[in-house]
């Protein structure tokens, strides 16, 4: 096979050399033959004649020879390419427009594809990553909902499932710690991981060691493994770091290792350091310990389905063993590469939008090629008379198309290189499950080449078929203009323009929906007033704050000092604030039957200072707010939001209802206190405007310490000056109370609200860019169509003008052409848009209680948006056709009549 191709290529590229060789061979044969004949007695001349007769003409052999060496195809292709290049060079304007058009479409698609490829098909950066699985807890009554394992689950089936897994590890959510920095205290993030963590991922620390299993016990867990970035930024990659200590929350930790550069698992994130996961803490022996996430490595021959089958057995054993809490327990094994992926539906949506752009580009290039084909009719007719077959002409045209596609593709790939990284930055995090940089790798390149060729063939086929069908007599008689082929030609061209308009309507409508949704998002009720609010994150992880008395004191001091800062009206602490995420807690309503453990309701729990609702301007709907009278010794109280009442207390007076709140922080410090509801407040958004309101329970910091759920808490101050101007004063006051408290995440509440819209803004920019591309392409398309129409009819317009038609009437005639195309396209486009909307509908929307989706509060059939999209398109079509149509008006009858 290789030899074969070498031979073919040799005969192609070194043709002269090969032909010389053949000549030599034949001449030798000829001379031998002559010699033989002379020896048999013939005179030389006669011998030569006979020899020539038997051998045949050298050309004949050569032709055969070339045919049989299989170079004919490549050779003609080469010829076609050379010819096509010459033709393209002859009309640089046409070539530039066609290449740029294709480059835009191909570039957009390649960029999207490279992002998709990085998200979907890049392996995880660990050896034999296909063996890695995530193991999750499910509810067999509510499949599809996967959650965290309890620590008990982990220890229990760690023993039970040895058969399926070569290794298994667990880790918990971020811990926040403070560490003395150079100027001020710093916050560091740490992930508690089990000792098997690095081994399971088969990626040992680059220096030092992994944790030992003995370090997983309380009191012996004061070791850390640094992340590479932290090692770099804080220790300048010092290799002698092992054995040195670092102070976290006033305790001394020994550095035992450093994780390698590029160590990144999506579900683990990028913590500054890793600490040992301590599984044997007091609470973890109950079934309701803190959740852990688990990752396992399958035995080399183990398949997902076998592992899942084993997990099913383990789960059924656990169900029998713990019939109270785990009656519905299921365990689920999932490919780690896909288990925690973002919502790719959205990505595919944008990929589809990009594909529409490419289709429009194809239609545009097809129009250009059609016009060109007509202009070259004479050329084709001549070639055809000289014996060129239709297939040869068609091949020539397809090669020209493929060349355009190749140039467009090359440009497109270059554009996609930076387009992809821009896209990656633009797309919201929930669309991108993985933080992998998109690259133009082999697969992306293959995709780009495939769509380039596909698009160019798609664009060139119809015009090619059309142009290669030459009507000799006609074409030769008329020199290309006004030939009888024109009506069919015009129909084809109109079809392309209409197709472009149709697709553009769909894209514009889509962009309109996103715009509409974005505007509504910006106006969405937040439940609080973000104006003139500054928020700061404080990490109160120091040992001394585990004593509620100390914490309370520091809290009061800080609030007092901050309130005294000029420009600040009031200040409050809160364990969670809107637009900064939140942690849920399980609860039960006293006096109502206890649901099974898996169905225990949960709500977002926030511990707040009494001033919170006032500072945030969250309206109190009934009952009372917290006050200084709510102290540690007074009856425990809670305030819930509207949504909570609607969901859990629909038929009773919420005020006075008692709740049992179950949370690890509660049980340890306070026992199972009962909270009596004393008030109901307005709903507030927790993650972003685009969400279904969560259920909220608020408790006072006096009764439930603000650090109960998370050491990182918020201080929010309302100001009557620009909020950012008081930040340094607040920092100063906090340092006055305790220099060791790191201040992080400083942002105005308005900024937080705006940041939460970043993803939607990205979506809007992306779809808007596609729509703008489509609009530009369709404008070029209609411009070309009308310009061509006018040019074709110059003579007719000349006659009309000569016969007394007013110029404006001629203009109207030309514009009518565009109006017909536009009307057809827009009507079809509306149909296509609505059909697409029906098909995509639910995929684009917010899924109730899932807090994800692309569009907010706008109907996929929104008539106003559709009308606006059509109007915009009609306007652009009018302008794009007015310019060439005006030329019709200015036709000089004398010139026009001579025009031929």
């Amino acid at each position: 096979m290789f030899d074969d191709w070498r031979l073919r290529l040799r005969s192609l590229f070194r043709r002269e050399c090969v032909e010389n060789e053949l000549n030599d061979e034949l001449r030798f044969h000829f001379e031998q033959q002559v010699e033989k004949l002379v020896q048999s007695g013939l005179p030389l001349a006669e011998a030569r004649r006979q020899a020539r007769l038997t051998i045949g003409t050298a050309d004949e052999i050569r032709e055969e020879y070339r045919d049989s060496s299989g170079v004919r195809f490549l050779e003609t292709l080469f010829q076609d390419v050379r010819f096509a290049l010459r033709m393209l060079r002859k009309s640089p304007g046409f070539t530039a427009v066609a290449v740029l058009t294709l480059a835009l479409g191909i570039g957009a698609n390649t960029a999207i594809f490279s992002v998709l490829e990085a998200q979907l098909w890049k392996p995880l950066p660990f050896p034999q990553s296909q063996q890695l699985v995530a193991v999750m807890r499910t509810n067999i009554k509510a499949p599809g909902h996967a959650g965290l394992l309890t620590e008990m689950d982990f220890t229990n089936w760690l023993a039970a499932a040895k058969g399926s897994f070569a290794d298994i590890c667990a880790f918990q959510g971020y811990d926040y710690h403070n560490t003395p920095g150079t100027d001020a205290a710093e916050m560091v993030t740490a992930r508690p991981v089990s000792s098997s963590f690095f081994e399971t991922l088969r990626t040992p620390p680059i220096i030092g060691r992994a944790f030992l299993s003995s370090e997983q016990t309380d009191g012996r867990d004061h070791e850390v493994i640094l992340s590479y970035p932290y090692w770099k930024s804080h220790f300048a990659l010092d290799p002698k770091i092992i054995g040195r200590t670092i102070e976290l929350d006033g305790s001394v930790y020994t550095i035992v290792g450093v994780a390698p550069a590029g160590f990144h698992l999506e579900i683990v994130g990028d913590p500054d350091m890793y600490v040992p996961l301590v599984l044997a803490r007091k609470n973890s022996m109950t079934r309701s310990g803190t959740g852990v996430e688990a990752v396992a490595r399958l035995e080399p021959e183990m398949s997902f389905s076998n592992a899942q089958a084993e997990m099913d057995v383990v789960a059924s054993q656990l169900r029998r063993q713990y019939p109270e809490g785990d009656a519905n327990l299921g365990l689920k094994v999932e490919d780690l590469g896909t288990a925690f992926e973002g919502q790719h539906q959205g990505l595919f949506f944008f990929a589809a939008a990009a594909a529409l752009v490419l289709l429009i580009a194809c239609a545009n290039v097809a129009c250009l090629l059609l016009a060109r084909g007509l202009a070259r009719q004479h050329e084709f007719a001549v070639r055809s008379t000289l014996g060129a077959k239709r297939a040869v002409l068609l091949r020539q045209l397809l090669v020209e198309g493929a060349l355009l596609g190749s140039f467009g593709g090359a440009l497109g790939i270059i554009a996609a290189r930076w387009g992809a990284s821009a896209l990656n930055a633009l797309l919201p995090e929930d669309l991108l499950g993985r933080t992998v940089a998109p690259q133009i790798d082999g697969r992306v390149l293959a995709f780009a080449i495939a769509i380039s060729l596909g698009a160019s063939i798609l664009a060139a086929l119809a015009p090619g078929l059309f142009a290669s069908r030459v009507n000799l007599t006609d074409a030769l008689r008329h020199s290309g203009h006004n030939s009888s082929a024109a009506p069919a030609h015009r129909r084809l061209r109109s079809a392309f323009v209409i197709a472009e308009i149709t697709l553009s309507v769909a894209l514009l409508f889509g962009a309109g929906l996103f715009l509409n949704s974005f505007v509504r998002l910006m106006r969405a009720p937040l439940g609080f007033n973000p104006h003139n609010l500054i928020s700061l994150g404080l990490t109160l992880s120091d040992k001394r704050y585990t004593q509620p008395q100390n914490l309370w004191l520091a809290e009061q001091q800080m609030l007092e000092r901050v309130r005294a800062v000029p420009g600040i009206k009031d200040a409050t602490f809160a364990s969670q604030i809107p637009f900064a995420g939140g942690i849920g807690a399980s609860f039960s309503i006293v006096g109502e039957p206890l649901p099974p453990r898996d169905e225990t309701p949960s709500a977002i729990l926030s511990s707040i200072s009494p001033a919170y609702f006032q500072v945030m301007k969250i309206g109190l709907l009934s009952g009372r707010s917290f006050s200084v009278q709510d102290t540690q010794n007074s009856p425990h109280v809670a305030i819930v939001n509207e949504n909570f009442v609607e969901h859990f207390l629909p038929h009773r007076n919420p005020i006075g209802t008692e709740l049992d709140i179950e949370h690890i922080g509660f049980e340890t410090s306070y026992g199972n206190a009962r909270e009596r509801i004393v008030g109901v407040v307005q709903n507030t958004q927790l993650l972003g405007a685009n969400e279904v309101p969560f259920d909220f329970i608020y408790v006072p910091t006096a009764q439930v310490p603000v650090t109960s759920f998370n050491d990182s808490v918020f201080l929010v101050a309302s100001t009557n000056v620009p909020p950012l101007s008081v930040v340094s004063a607040i920092r100063h006051e906090i340092a006055q109370v305790d220099k060791g408290i790191p201040v992080t995440h400083v942002a105005t509440m308005e900024q937080r609200v705006s940041d939460s819209l970043e993803g939607d803004r990205g979506n809007l920019i992306l779809i808007g860019a596609f729509a703008a591309l489509a609009l530009a392409l369709v404008a070029v398309g209609i411009f070309g169509a009308i310009a061509y129409f006018v040019q074709q009819r110059t003579r007719e317009f000349g006659i009309r003008l000569a016969l007394g038609a007013s110029p404006s009437r001629v203009l109207r005639h030309a514009l009518k052409q565009s109006a017909i195309l536009g009307a057809f396209g827009i009507v079809l486009g509306i149909g296509v848009s609505l059909a697409l909307g029906r098909a995509l509908g639910s995929a684009l929307y917010l899924v109730p209680h899932q807090h994800e989706g692309l569009l907010y509060d706008v109907s996929i059939f929104d008539p106003l948006t559709l009308a606006a999209a059509c109007a915009l398109l009609a306007g652009v079509l009018f302008i794009a056709s007015y310019i060439p149509a005006r030329r019709a008006m200015k036709v000089d009858p004398m010139i026009a009549l001579r025009y031929e």
Partner: protein, 113 residues
């Protein structure tokens, strides 16, 4: 092997004879033609017009390989050699050819007797 009109006995016959002749010894094109003619007692005239294209096809398929050598008259000539693949191909062709001959003979013999 292409669907061109064969100028020899039947499609593939020329190739078979070339391979068979080359099996004995490597030859250049002219000698090859002479040898075939001689071996067939001048019954078969090899047309040069089909010899060289046939050689080229065989080269392409890897049944023969060509090397530059020097002829008895001290001229640079291309010498064709049988490759192992060519030998195998020849074997297959010969056996199927013999089968065919056998079949033809059986069909023809009752008529003769």
């Amino acid at each position: 092997m292409g669907n061109r009109q064969p100028r020899d006995l039947f499609p593939g016959a020329l190739e078979m004879m070339i391979l068979r002749t080359l099996k004995r010894q490597p030859l250049h094109g002219y000698a090859l033609a002479q040898r075939i003619k001689r071996d067939s007692d001048d019954l078969l005239q090899i047309e040069e017009g089909s010899l060289y294209p046939a050689l080229q096809r065989l080269l392409k398929e890897g049944c023969v390989k060509a090397e530059w050598g020097v002829s008895s008259t001290n001229r640079r000539v291309r010498i064709y050699k049988l490759t192992p693949a060519g030998a195998k191909y020849l074997e297959r062709q010969v056996s199927s050819f013999e089968q065919m001959l056998d079949g033809i003979a059986r069909v023809l013999s009752p008529v003769k007797s």
